[in-house]
Symmetry: C2
Subunit: 318 residues, 2 copies
């Protein structure tokens, strides 16, 4: 069996706070149509794709609910599911999940080509803070609005329509943490789907990192972690200026050698595609990164024993 899968990254330009959900969904349908017309059978949308990146705002009480999905699918997003199924295209999409118990997660789903939900994921690595930063125009309140993901990093085995691919999901900041990738790698992952909304610069005026450096970071971690786990990766941005706060683009499709095979050139709605030969993962998985032969977990204990840094003592006399 030739295990080639044509996939698309559907980068989205900015979504303003005032944009209607219908308008945003219409953009997503157009991206889906374009990807399908180019032969893709998998389309990866960004994190929190149906709305603006609302964690930059301090929002109290029930006003938050308008940004959340109480079930998936639901009437607001059903047209995306219907169109995808009609086209025979599956997709990854990120969204804010509100559970029946009132918990919120920064979540994603993987929807198969027949419209069934192949997998669910909830973001583990929430950045930002619980308390708003005083006197800041823009916040990063993911730690306030969301619970930490409680599903681990599960890998899912697709069916023949996706060449029996072993697939995994991350959301945004997860991609900067090699642990996310390794937990998927230890399940033999062949394709990692990632949506992100990453600040292009310090929105509150800091100047230590610019958009160029932040895009470099995003691309670098995707490339290296794909290589170190011998997997394909598709990383997809919501990009551009949302209500004056910039987001990087740089959506990319990366092969198991860590090479970029396609990359977005704009900060707007843009589809990129590539043919993913899943068997290109085999060389890495069988040789350099044959985990069973070469990993030494007995030397890694501290990785799971503690979260934070313990420095060696400063020498008194040297």
């Amino acid at each position: 069996m030739v295990r080639v899968l044509r996939a698309a990254a559907a980068q989205m330009g900015p979504t303003q706070k005032a944009d209607s959900r219908e308008h945003t969904l219409h953009r997503m349908l157009r991206l889906l149509d374009e990807a399908a017309a180019r032969g893709a059978t998998l389309v990866v949308f960004p994190e929190l794709a149906f709305t603006t990146f609302f964690p930059r705002w301090l929002i109290e009480g029930e006003a938050l609910d308008q940004y959340c999905e109480r079930s998936m699918p639901n009437p607001d997003v059903q047209p995306l599911f219907d169109r995808a199924r009609a086209l025979g295209v599956g997709f990854y999409v990120g969204y804010a999940e509100l559970t029946a118990e009132g918990r919120r997660y920064n979540g994603s789903i993987l929807v198969d080509r027949d419209g069934s939900i192949l997998g669910r994921y909830r973001k583990v690595h929430l950045p930002g803070s619980v308390e708003p930063r005083a006197n800041a125009r823009y916040q990063q309140l993911e730690k306030r609005y969301f619970d930490y993901g409680d599903l681990g990093f599960p890998a899912f085995r697709a069916g023949p329509a996706w060449r029996d691919a072993i697939m995994g999901m991350m959301i945004c900041n997860d991609r900067r943490w090699p642990e996310s990738w390794r937990v998927l790698g230890l399940q033999g992952v062949e394709l990692v789907c990632i949506g992100y909304n990453s600040a292009a610069y310090d929105p509150n005026g800091g100047s230590t990192e610019d958009a160029s450096l932040r895009t470099f970071h995003s691309t670098l971690v995707t490339q290296a972690n794909a290589y170190m786990n011998a997997t394909w990766a598709i990383a997809v941005a919501k990009a551009g200026e949302e209500d004056g706060s910039g987001l990087i683009g740089g959506s990319c499709i990366v092969d198991p050698n860590g090479r970029i095979v396609a990359q977005a050139q704009t900060l707007a709605d843009e589809v990129i595609t590539a043919d993913l030969d899943l068997d290109l993962c085999r060389q890495g998985k069988e040789k350099m990164f044959n985990f069973a032969a070469h990993r030494r977990p007995e030397q890694y204990a501290v990785i799971t024993e503690r979260a934070g840094v313990v420095e060696p003592a400063v020498l008194e006399d040297h």
Copy 2:
């Protein structure tokens, strides 16, 4: 205190099997002199710097001992220690260690500017095989010749002569494993020293990876893991054709943003230097990679629970 340290990577060209130890040591002294003349106070030499990369050969019995150091320093290498101390320069060097009990390790040491040994390391991620590959001209027999390193990945706090830097060591293949970096990162490492001997292509005729791709891999993992742990890194090759078997170059000094600040341009003896501002690590360690705030070890259990891959089941009916 301004925490700037001028460091050098002392890339070495090839060392043939027939080269005398004196000849090789003389080359190292010249590299040391050049680095010191350029103001470096730390010089990083490659893995197995005193000899050819002997694990490519099947060597039986006591013939192996000529490639090993029974103590460090010892009379064969004492001139390097003496010159370094006279110059006020410390160094990292890789070598094959033979213990009093007859065990062999692929080891390295970090020698302080006063000539004292600041730290010892033994390579954890041994590549290759125990049994020679039949009918192959070149072997990769590290798993045959060496025991797995049993010292973990210890970080060492230098004294004021190196700005109280927190330093760690890896050897070659270790750098491709994010676990190596994370164990050091969890000790607050600010500078990782790495020596390597990495094949430029399949020495036995395979053609899936060429020197360009293998150099890319080496540089990519150094950059990304430096960024993901907010540390400086110095990765140093033994490069060029050793008895017909090619080794990549690409020695580099990488900043805590993952950017290359200096890189070797040859496959020969070559010194590159850079000024390392250790406080550039702080932004990453305090914000994006504030491990105590953002890591979620409870989701990483599988990383230390098992070495190898367990794939999700193939779907029977989908």
